[in-house]
Symmetry: C2
Subunit: 191 residues, 2 copies
Amino acid sequence: MTDAGTTTPPRRSDATRSAILTAARERFAADGYERATIRAIARDAGIDPSMVMRYYGSKDGLFAAALDVDLELPGPEGLDPREVGEVLVGHFLDMWEENEALTAMLRVGATNQAGAERLQGVFRDQLVSLARQVCPDPEQAPTRAALVASQVLGMALTRYVLRLPPTVALSREEIVAWLGPTVQRYLTAPG
Amino acid sequence: MTDAGTTTPPRRSDATRSAILTAARERFAADGYERATIRAIARDAGIDPSMVMRYYGSKDGLFAAALDVDLELPGPEGLDPREVGEVLVGHFLDMWEENEALTAMLRVGATNQAGAERLQGVFRDQLVSLARQVCPDPEQAPTRAALVASQVLGMALTRYVLRLPPTVALSREEIVAWLGPTVQRYLTAPG
DNA sequence: AGTGTTGGCCAACAAGTGTTGACCAATGGC
DNA sequence: GCCATTGGTCAACACTTGTTGGCCAACACT
């Protein structure tokens, strides 16, 4: 999060820059790529649209900068293979609730090629390596990770994007209880 | 499909009308709502953009007309509650492969309110009534139908929209074998 | 103090959008 | 053969979009 070392000198405009990123995440999450206009983002951030261009080059550049997501998946330590399903589902729910960049990526990924690839990248890199640690045959890790993604993204889609009332009404615990065993099976059941 | 009865007199322009609908479904499925322009749809259909307006009133009207989907879920007869999961997953895969309107609805639903509501309607009306027939407590039918939707839509999302390579590589049989038991459990497991 | 750099706003551009209305050509009933 | 209806094109309107360049004020350094 904070600057660690000599990577970037602090600029006077950092406040504006991060205001733009925050507004961009909100707009992308709420409206998707096409309908999240630079003008609207700039208005939310309280500055002129041309500033967005100066700082991020283009709308694509802004998108790339705004949606840098780390799933923060648990490492090998503290990962009990027998309850990885429930832990994972709970973790994803937390991520989604607190980080609107994930909803933004999902919404944008549905219509925008760059968004789809970014979503692919996040789940491929971070989920597959976890799957490799817990599934019986490491060869199957990509397939099993994809199955997990289908269920987790499906829940995110119906709950945070489509807002199907019954999925919105479910509590965190209920979702974990329902999806946990599914994810558990996708990851650890003999292939 | 075909005209049954005296509902609508056949018009000379029926060929054009259905050409427009076909092109619209393709474009909506491929590009989503905003990027599927009326001009592009008209070009695909080989006519002038203004015809689209004349026949369907507006872009919203075209969208509504193009995406009228019947899931064709099996009725109470021929529905063995013990294998409803696998049957349902197979059925959804067939629907998705042959009907691009479903992919269109999914893509549009991610960014467009009307699309989201339409998707909600389709799954609510058609899936819930099926759930009511097989789940132990009819009171829970909406919740169970929503869980099924989360898994089925999640697979459709990763396979037909995001095109995650491992999900694309799976065969119909593999998907049925993996998702079938999940859907079965969401529908019939004691609550 | 003076000067270069940075942060910011304003006005405009070119392109593309949904939508409209005027106009033409073919059809079909009388 | 005449004429109303239908199927279709063309050109334009009003608007929004991403993007650009010119200009001004505040700062930082010497």
